[in-house]
């Protein structure tokens, strides 16, 4: 750490240089624009001079120039672990970054409950499960259980949400049946195991089953979450929304209300300007 240190360059460049379309940044070691990164990797060779040369060659090909080999340690007979520090010559164009930004307002539990009560005039039904062979309920439990995560209560805590948590290793047909029985407005699926892209296969199977079982206007909102999902893949997987690592119950609740309730006709005289769509429906 060199928090107190300043350089002449910092003032001129921070936080990034503008090149054409938008700001461009480099990795930050201890000075703006120094481009310093740290990587570690293993090569399947015993530790000797040649191995260290090989590590530096890889670093150079990764764009680390100059690279500094700071640590090498042999593991077992034929492997060596390396830590390399170096300057990368790559630039990051922030204008070209594509991510899913939150496109709905973040609401408190109280606001969520009030909106559901006023506009939906019944409880909003949410069915959650881990599907396939995935037995890791930690994700769905964090979102649904009253306990919640990081001090934020789960959806069971929301008075106006009716939550059915089916738990682990639920088959897709069982999930569809439960969604039907509970008249689910939204189905939340969590997938942690990602071996051989199981999370992608399972999600596609799930969305296809819902498409087959229910007409477009009657399908629940399909939401999947898990640490290894790409949030941009919702369309490709046939679901309405993907939530990645670090999602909180409040974000999920806010999203559900935004999509399912916010645009519903206002029941009482205190009609507000509606911003969403008027019916419960699902894309594609």
């Amino acid at each position: 750490m060199s928090a107190g240190r300043t350089t002449g360059r910092r003032g001129a460049e921070a936080p990034g240089v503008d090149v054409g379309g938008g700001p461009v940044v480099r990795p930050y070691g201890d000075a703006t624009g120094d481009g310093m990164v740290q990587v570690s990797f293993t090569l399947p060779v015993p530790h000797d001079k040649r191995a260290e040369g090989a590590a530096l060659q890889l670093a150079a090909k990764m764009g680390l120039e100059p690279a500094m080999l700071v640590h090498a340690r042999q593991m077992g007979d034929g492997f060596t672990f390396f830590v390399v520090y170096g300057r990368v010559n790559h630039l990051v164009d922030l204008a070209a970054v594509r991510v899913v930004e939150r496109d709905y307002p973040l609401l408190s539990a109280k606001e969520v409950n009030a909106l559901v009560r006023r506009r939906l005039r019944r409880k909003l039904s949410v069915v959650g499960a881990c599907i396939g062979t995935d037995a890791h309920t930690v994700g769905i439990d964090a979102i649904l259980n009253v306990k919640g995560i990081a001090g934020e209560k789960g959806l069971e805590y929301y008075r106006e949400l009716r939550v059915t948590n089916l738990g682990a290793q639920v088959s897709v047909p069982d999930l569809v049946a439960a969604a039907r029985a509970e008249r689910a407005d939204a189905v939340l699926v969590s997938q942690v195991v990602t071996q051989r892209d199981a999370h992608l296969h399972n999600t596609r199977e799930m969305s296809a089953a819902f498409r087959e079982a229910m007409p477009a206007g009657r399908r629940p909102l399909l939401v999947v979450g898990g640490p290894r999902f790409d949030e941009l893949m919702a369309g490709e997987l046939g679901v309405d929304r993907i939530f990645g690592r670090g999602t909180t119950p409040g974000e999920v609740a806010s999203y559900l209300v935004h999509r399912l309730v916010a645009g519903a006709p206002v029941a009482r005289a205190d009609r507000e300007r509606s911003t969403g769509r008027a019916t419960v429906e699902v894309d594609g």
Binding site: M75, G76, D134, A135, N145, A168, Q169, V193, P227
Partner: protein, 535 residues
């Protein structure tokens, strides 16, 4: 093991309260033992047939034990046990008394094949036919049990020859590639790098298969299928490693899920050394029917007792779904119940790897002292059990640097409180299945802590009346209160109400219930008879 000095030990626990906790666990567990004694399951019956020598699978991979049990159940039901109907049918098929020795297994497997084709009739024998069927079944199962006895003696011999690990805790490392032929070199490399115990994680979902897959397997999801052949291959490889390293390297697998009793038998036959075997894990985390679990559980523990296998219980799991501070006492309660069930099934303390874990939120003030208090409480409550200490998973965030520090503190608690088995934590927990380098860094972490502070438990005596002693007493008190509630309402209703790990599991629900039957008056199980006779 850390010796407990004085009457209250390092924590000055009230001996009256400790005795009360044990007595309550006994009272909570006893009705469940009675329930287990009066029921059987398809998996218990299949385990009996495996002991009698039935092996192999049909072309679809369904084991012959499943075919045979299904055929018997279809004709006479499960309630009499399958041993008498099967050996009665075998005598009729052979047209002669059933021979003794290894040929019985061959004859039984042939019978299973015929039964699967529908060409064998089963009935419940009575009178003289029943007596001779039972005697033949007892002889055949006795052969299987003696094979397990020989494997146990072989382990004792190898431990004497190669020696136990030099240090406690034993270092326990997980291997999980899905391919047994990939697992083997990884396990051997891990042993060379210092692992004393290798656990081969099972393929996700195997616990819900109602049969044991056959043969060497190369495909699995997040783990490798547990099969008899995979057990054999890995044990043979680790025997080579033991010889090379001059210390006996132990092998662990899982006796859990719907095939728990069969897994125990296969582990005994292939000289596995430890098996994960929790009394309630399957109920809470796999939604397996509670009655099915307790019946399977008791039989599997009797087999483990006979085979000299150390069981590892799964209390760590509670803390992955419930708060590790608020619910710390549920771990203690589960340990006490696991101890009661294990003792009842014949397991001595030396075979009780009771579990607990380092899962308190590191952002909580004094989290390390709380961990010390909880770990020491387990140590002092079960002074003669090789406790299994499990690493942080819940608060591993993907920040591998912080994770490595957290694992270091986990290792420190392990050595300061004299734990018996230390599951090596990976800083890449929740990120990837461990890489070669992750494992190497994790082992360096363990070796540093054990090397630098291996004897610290001698000096570590919490201040009288201080934070750690007070916390341990609080947790024990909460455990006693919860046990009182369980004794009042019954263990099965407590499980149904979500007392453990938040999950609610009613006794009339869950997987595998259709494979449970009440004993008829003439129920006969030669394995239980021989295991309980202890001969």
């Amino acid at each position: 093991m850390s010796p407990v000095s004085g009457s209250g030990g390092k924590l000055a626990l009230d001996p009256v309260l400790v005795a009360r906790a044990r007595e309550l666990a006994r009272r909570a567990g006893q009705p469940v033992v009675e329930l287990a004694r009066g029921h059987t399951t398809v998996s218990v019956e299949r385990a009996v047939l495996r002991l009698a020598g039935v092996s192999g699978a049909d072309p679809d991979g369904i084991p012959w034990v499943n075919r045979l049990v299904d055929a018997v159940v279809a004709e006479v039901g499960l309630t009499h046990g399958v041993a008498a109907p099967v050996f009665d049918a075998l005598a009729r098929e052979l047209g002669a008394p059933v021979p003794a020795g290894a040929d019985v297994g061959v004859a039984l497997t042939l019978l299973a094949q015929k039964a699967a084709a529908g060409s064998v009739r089963f009935e419940v024998p009575a009178g003289r036919a029943a007596r001779s069927a039972r005697a033949a079944a007892r002889r055949a199962v006795g052969v299987g049990l003696r094979r397990i006895d020989r494997r146990r003696a072989e382990r004792d011999r190898l431990v004497r020859r190669h020696g136990d690990p030099a240090q406690r805790p034993w270092i326990y490392l997980i291997v999980a590639t899905g391919d047994i032929y990939e697992d083997i070199p990884q396990a051997q490399a891990a042993a060379r790098a210092g692992a004393d115990v290798i656990a081969v994680i099972r393929s996700t979902g195997q616990s819900l298969l109602d049969y044991v897959p056959e043969g060497a397997t190369r495909e699995g999801f997040a783990g490798t299928y547990a099969t008899q052949e995979n057990f054999r291959l890995m044990r043979a490889a680790l025997d080579d490693s033991s010889k090379e390293l001059g210390r006996y390297v132990r092998l662990t697998n899982y006796a859990s899920g719907l095939c728990m009793p069969e897994m125990a038998v296969l582990a005994g036959l292939e000289r596995l050394d430890m098996m994960l075997n929790d009394s309630m894990y399957g109920i809470l985390f796999r939604d397996i029917n509670p009655v099915r679990t307790f019946v399977d559980q008791r039989f599997s523990r009797q087999v483990h007792a006979r085979a000299g296998i150390v069981i590892n219980t799964g209390e760590d799991n509670y803390l992955t779904t419930a708060d590790a501070v608020d619910e710390a006492h549920t771990v203690t309660v589960s340990q006490l119940l696991n101890e009661y069930f294990a003792h009842e099934a014949g397991l001595p303390d030396a075979q009780l790897g009771l579990g607990h874990a380092f899962e308190i939120d590191p952002d909580l003030p004094e989290s390390f002292r709380l961990e010390l208090a909880h770990a020491l409480l387990a140590r002092e409550l079960f002074p003669d059990a090789p406790l299994k200490w499990m690493p942080p998973t819940r608060h591993m965030t993907g920040d591998v640097f912080r994770g490595n520090l957290l694992d270091g503190f986990f290792n420190l608690v392990g050595t300061m409180t004299g734990q018996g088995i230390l599951l090596v934590g990976m800083m890449t927990e929740a990120v990837v299945t461990p890489w070669l380098s992750d494992r190497d860094i994790a082992l360096q972490n363990v070796r540093y802590v054990l090397g630098a502070a291996g004897g610290l438990h001698e000096d570590f005596v919490p201040a009288p009346g201080g934070f750690i002693q007070r916390r341990a007493t609080t947790v024990l008190g909460e455990a006693v209160t919860l046990l009182e509630r369980i004794v009042d309402g019954g263990l099965l209703p407590a499980i149904a109400d979500g007392t453990f790990g938040i999950t609610r599991r009613p006794a009339d629900r869950g997987r595998g219930l259709d494979g449970v039957a009440v004993h008829a008056d003439d129920y006969y199980n030669p394995a239980t008879e021989l295991l309980e006779a202890g001969s």
